[in-house]
Symmetry: C2
Subunit: 150 residues, 2 copies
Amino acid sequence: MLNEFDLFKDFLHKQRLRWTPQRKMILDIFLSFEGHVQIETLHEKIREQDPSIGIATLYRTLKLLVDCELVEAHSFQNGKKTYERMFHVRHHDHLICTSCEKTIEFEHPLIEKYQVEICEAHGFTMKSHKMELFGICDNCRIKNNTLSFL
Amino acid sequence: MLNEFDLFKDFLHKQRLRWTPQRKMILDIFLSFEGHVQIETLHEKIREQDPSIGIATLYRTLKLLVDCELVEAHSFQNGKKTYERMFHVRHHDHLICTSCEKTIEFEHPLIEKYQVEICEAHGFTMKSHKMELFGICDNCRIKNNTLSFL
DNA sequence: ATTGATATTGATAACTGTTATCAATATAGA
DNA sequence: TCTATATTGATAACAGTTATCAATATCAAT
């Protein structure tokens, strides 16, 4: 059974790149997080373990991990990128309460199917997708109704 | 019938901010584009009409337009933001090429229907949603295949 | 129309996240 | 062990964006 380390090693080997302690440590620490991770968060954790590792190496290694498709990069409004594990993780979407920020994860096979169809119809090869539904959850709705009498 | 200019004026007035020729011109030029517009594109067009307008004013005005919900800001991998008209525009989702960043807008009524169902099933009242499909467009796929023979 | 408080402007310095440069060092195949 | 070369950390450079500031424009009150 393949794991991320073997996949990364293979990838490096095929590209005639090298397996180094720094790359091992960065992958190790990256995998210790779940969901979207920021460079800053990774950098802090890495410094704890070994302050001698430079920030450039972190960026370089993440780029390699993206190249070998173990990791996906996302951009957000504040200009910072986040990195997300892509291997051995089941895809899911998010339902987000705009009032209390509670999030629920869900999957919907039919929606996934249509997404692929849409991509194909436009000549795209789909790599990933992101769907976020924003609304008001039961709790908040009831709370708001109650408060509106005040 | 309200238009963008009136809405923006109202918004500024309520916030005790001022209606200026620069703000008018920037909104005017922004509306002359469709879909996603980059700061750079706007800046070029503005310089044609009035080279004295500074880039800072452009950024400031766009921020105001986002605040009053006439415009939505998006971030992409290359670190640049794009701005999208949000008023008098039918809701749509995005298909984004991760290679050349081309975006295509689409709608899918069935997906919208399922989204509502999912929200209801979790006791949410849906307010809005965002769906982005990431992939490789035809052009980039062909280009990459060709280059891989070199 | 004039006034005056203050919001806005353009120029540009500063800032932030990321990438490129480079000399010293580490890696891995022979 | 040896050697070609990939990698490293420090830091300069870079790009997009935001903050600063003195001069100017706006607009409500007069």
